[in-house]
Every structure is written in structure tokens, then in C-alpha cells.
Point group: C2
Chain length 192, copies 2
């Protein structure tokens, strides 16, 4: 179990398509899909990181519907997935919360379509996670990516995901799924 | 490039939660997310498989908006992703269409949370694809899965995706992303 691995979906500070730094909207689909994926891979908590109180409120209302309202009876699997989701106001408060729970500041790992000086391989982070000595926070950006000075301050940046094509615009929901499978999935490539 | 690998999202025959066989609705999000993922992994065509003309029409209208309408200017990456999407009326007609294009019937591979007699490993299918001798059609179910006699007639069934938890309810959009990465992604585990 990945008891000390956390995921955060960052809604600020994010670039929009005009390279302005903005807060993006929380979407229903990012909550649902990423909750089910993080729950499958045994993630401790999936943090929706957003600075605005009204957006946090909206996310909590959606989750309450599926956890306590009509949704809980309609779809118990979804209720179960939502147990891992929490809302946080900033990247710093997410890190502080994990430090409080784990007694140790997490290694902050993110991913980007660009290469940075602190870029590391999937095999390396997989090994760090399997050793389990320190908590890990995997951050994913929304919109056109996390603001670049914020990125540079993280501990490690995972290499971009390349498919066998020149097109590289995976939805964040797909990127989370692929990256959790690479870091936490079974070693399928060793099975004939 | 995975020039002869195809993906189909099956909307009939599908189980609903009461184990009745139904046609599920095409969703906007399945079109968008899976188009971007299949385009990234170099898939030849992503078939939306649905027997009802009205649903096919709806899918085509959504795609036309993003390919020729206001959407094409707003988001050219999405326009590019949609080039790979087509609508087909049935699994059989999808297979026939691929056979017509490739001059050879495709190997039909699917995936399921259950284990079947024709279950195969990811490593095996990855090897078959890399040899490139025959076209491959990867089918994914919606709803509560593809009807079981239909499943049994396919050539191979990929093992379920296990994360390190007892919960196994990945969204189909996440399953497509993980499986394409396992079958067509770079060999990231060999990079230190």
C-alpha cells in the first residue's frame, strides 16, 4: 500500500492559454475520475488545491451528494472513492498538512511537458516510493500548467510522458492514471 | 508509430447495473479525453461504437464543432485529436472496416476486471504489437462491462489492472490511458 503517497490537483498558480497566471475552475470530472484512480492506487489523500472559498464549497457540495445524499445509495463505489478527497487552499498548506500527519515534510514531485534541471526518471521515483522513508506529494497542474517559478522550487520533476507520436496533450485525468500506474502499479513488464 | 493499432469504445452490448444488456449513451467526456489519449499514443483510429443513428449523429455534431466550428480556432490541439475519431455501428462492422483498410482481420483484444480462459499478459500483447504483423483492435467497455458471450469470442483478454488496494473501479478513460501506456509507451522502467 502507498500509505504515505499523496496527490494534489493544482488550480493556482496556473497559466491560461495567454500565459497569464490565474486560478482555474474545479471541474466535476476532475473530482470523479481522479478520485476513482487515486483510490485504486491506494493514495492516502487526493487534495483539490484551490484558493477560493466558493470553489472549495462547490467541491464539498458535489462530494456530499455522493457521500451522504442520493448518490451514496445510487453508487456506493463512488462514495468509497470520495473518502480520499479533500480540499486545500494552497500548495503550501497542503505540504504543511501532510507534514503534520506524517511528522516529516513530503518530497514534492510534479510533472510537466517541459524538461527542467530537476527532472528525474520514473524508475527513480518508483524506487524512492517503494523504500517508503519519506512521504511523497505528487502535484498535477490544470490549464496550461503550473507557473514556472513555483515548478522550479519543487524537489523533483518527472519526465514528460511520450507516446509514439509528435502529439503530447494528454488530459490531466489520463496523466494522473498513467503516472500512478508507472509509480505504484504492479511490475507487469516482468510477467510473460 | 502504432500505425495498425485501433481503439474501440463499446456502447452495446453492455451490462447496466442490474445486469441487463443495454446500449449506453455516448458521453462528451469519453470523446474528448480518449481522443487526446489515443492521438498521443499514435492510434490509427478511435471508433465510438454505437448502434443508434441518433447517438452517432450527436457524436458527429460535437466533433464538427471542434473540427470546423468555433472550437477549431479556440483549441487547435483538440481539433487535431479529433482527426482520429470515427463512429461505427457495431463491433462487427468495426472489425470489417479495419480488415478492409489493412487487408487482414485484426486481432481483437479487450480488457476486463474479471479473469477469462483467454486472458493474456500485457508483456505478451506489447510484443505482438511491436512485431507489427497484424492489425490490433483494442476494445473497451462502458457501463458495467461488455456482455459476457461477446467477451468470450474475442481473441485475447488483457489481465485486470491492479493497483495496490482492494478497490478496482477505474474510469474507462483512465483504463484506456494506462493500457495504451503499457502496450505502446516508452520502456520507462529501463531508464535509471
Amino acid at each position: 500500500m502507498a500509505a504515505n503517497v499523496y496527490v494534489g490537483l493544482v488550480h493556482y498558480p496556473i497559466y491560461n492559454k495567454h500565459e497569464q497566471v490565474v486560478a482555474t475552475a474545479i471541474t466535476n470530472f476532475d473530482i470523479h475520475d481522479i478520485a476513482r484512480t487515486t483510490r485504486t492506487y491506494g493514495i492516502a489523500t487526493y487534495f483539490l488545491i484551490h484558493p477560493h472559498e466558493a470553489q472549495a464549497q462547490l467541491a464539498n457540495e458535489i462530494m456530499e451528494h455522493w457521500q451522504q445524499g442520493g448518490g451514496a445509495q445510487y453508487n456506493p463505489d463512488r462514495q468509497e472513492a470520495f473518502r480520499v478527497v479533500e480540499v486545500a487552499a494552497s500548495i503550501e498548506s497542503t505540504i504543511a498538512e501532510i507534514e503534520k500527519r506524517e511528522g516529516k515534510r513530503p518530497r514534492v514531485v510534479t510533472t510537466d511537458a517541459r524538461i527542467f534541471p530537476n527532472t528525474v526518471s520514473y524508475a527513480k521515483v518508483r524506487e524512492q516510493i517503494s523504500q517508503g522513508d519519506e512521504p511523497v506529494l505528487l502535484l498535477f497542474g490544470t490549464g496550461w500548467g503550473i507557473e514556472k517559478e513555483t515548478m522550479a522550487a519543487f524537489d523533483s520533476i518527472l519526465e514528460p510522458i511520450y507516446g509514439p507520436s509528435d502529439y503530447n496533450h494528454l488530459p490531466v485525468r489520463a496523466a494522473v492514471a498513467i503516472i500512478l500506474d508507472r509509480l505504484l502499479g504492479e511490475s507487469w513488464w516482468t510477467k510473460a
